[in-house]
């Protein structure tokens, strides 16, 4: 039997959900792989929803909103785009960024909705099952996915993505506008740092470990692990547990 991907869709109520209904009214046929969750605005789609979708077995996730300038909530889709861009960058770290898509579909674009869903389904079919999906998911990638989910949910990433438009398009609290490229550098650094940090944290989720052990497990330089560990400690997420020989063990709080 050919591979039938599981696709999760988040549709905004006003444009794309209406577009999907119109595809129905017009009896436009498209593959039945998509399961839709209706949200009021594409800007409501928390990156966590997308990561969670993959965690529970999605092979692809698609977010759809109103065309730029047509958002029922004025600017929600612009915020959706920023969140999506960050999500994509995180997924790139585990090679799954080609399994998500953001599309603008208006209430009058039933045909376009059918076409977008068809194309996306075909694409995911050609990619094959997601490494995180199916009965035997790749535990390594799954644990990386969990690290991504944790990193993106942290206040640093959320504050960055939440302020992006304001800082790059209007101004920061000091009245300065930041160059988008400069902002992206900061964002990209933060993504990698927070991802590694989350991996370090999750490594001691079940069992306390030393920095050296974690470094070996994650193939990360122990000094980098230690740096992350100290920041995690300052965030009150981990602490020293005990010193075995000369080696301190860290535990999660």
């Amino acid at each position: 039997m050919s591979f039938e991907p599981k696709i999760l869709g988040f549709l905004c109520n006003w444009c794309s959900y209406a577009g999907a209904d119109l595809a129905g009214v017009s009896r436009m046929q498209y593959p039945p792989n998509i399961r839709v969750i209706r949200v009021m605005c594409s800007g409501r789609v928390d990156p966590a929803f997308i990561f969670k979708g993959f965690e529970v077995g999605a092979d692809g996730v698609i977010v759809m909103g109103c065309h730029p300038g047509d958002c029922h909530y004025l600017e929600g889709n612009y915020e959706a785009e920023k969140k999506y861009d960050m999500t994509e960058k995180f997924l790139k770290l585990i090679g799954m960024d080609d399994r998500i898509r953001l599309e603008w579909v208006s209430a009058s674009e039933g045909a376009r909705y059918a076409q977008v869903v068809t194309e996306f389904t075909e694409k995911i079919k050609s990619l094959g099952p997601a490494p995180t999906a199916g009965d035997n998911p790749d535990q390594e990638i799954l644990s990386k996915l969990r690290a991504i989910k944790m990193a993106a949910a942290g206040d640093r990433m959320r504050a960055l993505v939440g302020r992006e438009r304001h800082i790059t398009e209007i101004e920061n609290v000091y009245g300065e506008k930041t160059d988008l490229d400069r902002f992206m550098e900061v964002m990209d650094d933060a993504i990698v740092q927070e991802y590694e940090r989350a991996r370090v944290f999750l490594a001691i989720e079940e069992k306390s470990k030393s920095v050296k052990e974690i470094g070996k497990e994650l193939d990360m330089d122990p000094s980098v692990v230690l740096e992350h560990m100290l920041i995690l400690k300052s965030r009150l997420l981990v602490d020293f547990q005990e010193i075995v020989g000369n080696t301190p063990l860290f535990m999660r709080l």
Partner: protein, 566 residues
């Protein structure tokens, strides 16, 4: 409306009923709805399921009510068409049976399932079951919500007593709403006070102004404050508390809706073409001369787009082409021997009336010459040198009066007023409407409307139209004693307050300015302003804000169900 029974207890165990609609053969013709309903019986908390030929029919609705009664249901899931058309019907159905209307969940198995997978009914069957599973997962976590009702003060404030503001104020007061009109100058009329005639009918501006003033004076519902300005604005739609400053005296007002009609300012063309206000003047100075019959010139040259459509002011001021034509014709009328030349870049006289007006000007012998913005005309004493593209030569035009057509510009005070109103300005400092096509008279902030040249330069005719339009928009709010607002809004619940770090990201992303900080530096969400988009919740750095009816918990449960986890 049916009498409300006491609502069922929020805390009680979910008891979900699932109703699967055949929609005649629209769904039932492709998938076995009876089996779908049977399968749903095994889902957690589902205590009753049923399939109906038409769930939205009288029988179908009666079946839902009966199901609620007999099985003590406290959550209802309907799997049928689309919430976009039928959710209100089912919500009111369960409300009539004493359930909270938000304890209803829609599952779309027609528009997004059987209709679009007609050739793959087996797969559509599986999809229907899975979608219902996701719907039930959400239904289990639905919370009762109340629609928010706020009282509306049926009074209006119109800021700006020009032609747009007067029109809006008269219209509102004639509809019976107590209306307050404030004007910063010591008399009403705005630009009408300076204009000589009004195109395209060439009636005297003073005539129009006098008739408007008479209507204002005889209107007992309309209170006018001249030499007055807005000092503070607090509150929200239906409930604004406003202080106006009338020559040092502070007057408090309780206002339901605000119409912004502050107009625009004249641009003084200092440094352009030797502007001196005497021999080289603006169109509006020319109008004053015409009005006072003090014009004494035989050779008149007008230059269009002076200070407009340039790098620092890119927009077209909309009214100057017609103003130039009007004044040129007025000069011709007073002195048929006058030579009038209009130098222009592009001449905009759109529509049937204005194009006819342009023809009249041509027929009256007014000369039109284009100039190239790369080769601007030059003033040399009493002569204007202009490069004529058609003959490829520089021409010399002697003049005794040089008239510069300058753009209307945004009032410098707009910024302060915009901040008080919590509405945006565009790049040139004019007020920015909510949507140029869909909501042209509205701001994103509820209860505040815009008309006239405060938005962008418009002529008298358009100002009057917009005055009516803004008044009509305001009356949609003022005509109701109360305003009902959707209950599915964002909230910062008491139990989450400790999570809020005060970072204010929510304030900056909220498109409706519904979020602010109070005196205690705590985040406050004004429910009546919130539209429930959920941006703030999806952005909140510490997950403190809850988007009611689309909570993280509910959506995560739907995603789990998508993955087969219940």
């Amino acid at each position: 409306m049916a009498k409300k029974k006491p609502e069922k207890n929020e805390e009680e165990e979910p008891r979900i009923g699932v109703f699967v609609c055949h929609c005649g053969s629209n769904i039932g013709g492709y998938i076995d709805c009876k089996t779908v309903a049977e399968i749903a019986k095994d889902l957690p908390h589902v205590v009753y399921t049923q399939d109906n030929l038409y769930t939205c029919s009288e029988t179908g609705l009666a079946n839902i009510k009966q199901g609620i009664r007999e099985h003590n249901l406290n959550r209802v899931v309907v799997a049928s068409c689309t919430p976009r058309t039928h959710e209100p019907l089912f919500r009111s159905c369960i409300e009539e049976e004493g359930l909270n209307p938000y304890h209803f969940q829609f599952v779309n198995i027609r528009d997004q399932n059987t209709w679009v997978h007609q050739k793959e009914p087996e797969k559509a069957f599986v999809k229907a079951n899975e979608l219902i599973m996701m719907g039930v997962a959400k239904a289990e976590r639905l919370q009762a919500l109340e629609k928010i009702v706020v009282d509306v003060t049926s009074t209006a404030l119109v800021i700006g007593g020009g032609v747009a503001g007067i029109t809006a104020a008269l219209n509102l007061s004639n509809q019976g709403f107590e209306t307050h009109l404030i004007e910063k100058e010591d008399k009403l009329g705005g630009r009408l006070n300076e204009l000589y005639k009004i195109f395209p009918k060439d009636i005297e501006a003073s005539e129009l102004l006098e008739s408007l003033k008479k209507k204002v004076e005889s209107n007992s519902n309309l209170k006018v404050y001249t030499s007055a300005e807005v000092k503070t604005i607090e509150g929200f739609v239906g409930n604004f508390e406003i202080e106006i400053d009338q020559a040092g005296q502070i007057i408090p007002l309780k206002i339901g809706c605000i119409v912004v009609a502050v107009g625009s300012s004249l641009f003084t063309p200092e440094g352009y073409y030797g502007y001196d206000g005497e021999k080289r003047i603006t169109q509006s100075q020319l109008e004053v001369k015409l009005k006072n019959d003090k014009l004494d010139a035989n050779d008149v040259v007008m230059i269009q787009c002076v200070g407009a459509r340039i790098e620092e002011r890119k927009y077209c001021s909309n009214v100057c082409c017609m103003s130039a034509l009007k004044n040129a014709l007025a000069i011709k009328e007073k002195n048929p021997d006058a030579h009038i030349t209009i130098l222009f870049r592009d001449l905009f006289t759109p529509g049937t009336h204005y194009e006819a007006y342009y023809r009249r000007a041509r027929e009256a012998g007014i000369v039109f010459i284009t100039y190239n913005p790369d080769k601007l005309p030059k003033v040399e004493g009493d002569t204007l040198k202009v490069y004529n593209e058609y003959i490829g030569e520089e021409m010399s035009l002697p003049y005794d009066l040089l008239v510069l057509s300058t753009p209307l510009v945004a009032n410098p005070e707009n910024k302060a007023l915009a901040q008080m109103l919590k509405v945006p300005l565009e790049e040139n400092g004019f007020f920015l409407e909510a949507h140029v096509k869909l909501r042209p008279m509205d701001f994103a902030t509820d209860g505040v409307y815009i008309c006239g040249s405060a938005k962008w330069p418009v002529d008298i005719t358009e100002s009057i139209s917009q005055g009516y339009a803004a008044a009509s928009r305001a009356s949609t709010i003022l005509s109701h004693p109360q305003l009902e607002v959707e209950g599915a809004t964002s909230s910062l619940p008491e139990y989450n307050k400790s999570l809020c770090t005060g970072c204010e990201v929510c304030i900056s992303v909220c498109p409706y300015k519904a979020i602010s900080k109070n005196e205690d530096d705590e985040i406050v969400i004004t429910q009546v302003l919130c539209k429930g988009c959920g941006l703030c919740g999806a952005t909140c750095t510490n997950h403190a804000i809850v988007i009611r009816h689309f909570t993280d918990d509910q959506i995560m449960a739907q995603i789990d169900a998508f993955g087969g986890i219940m």
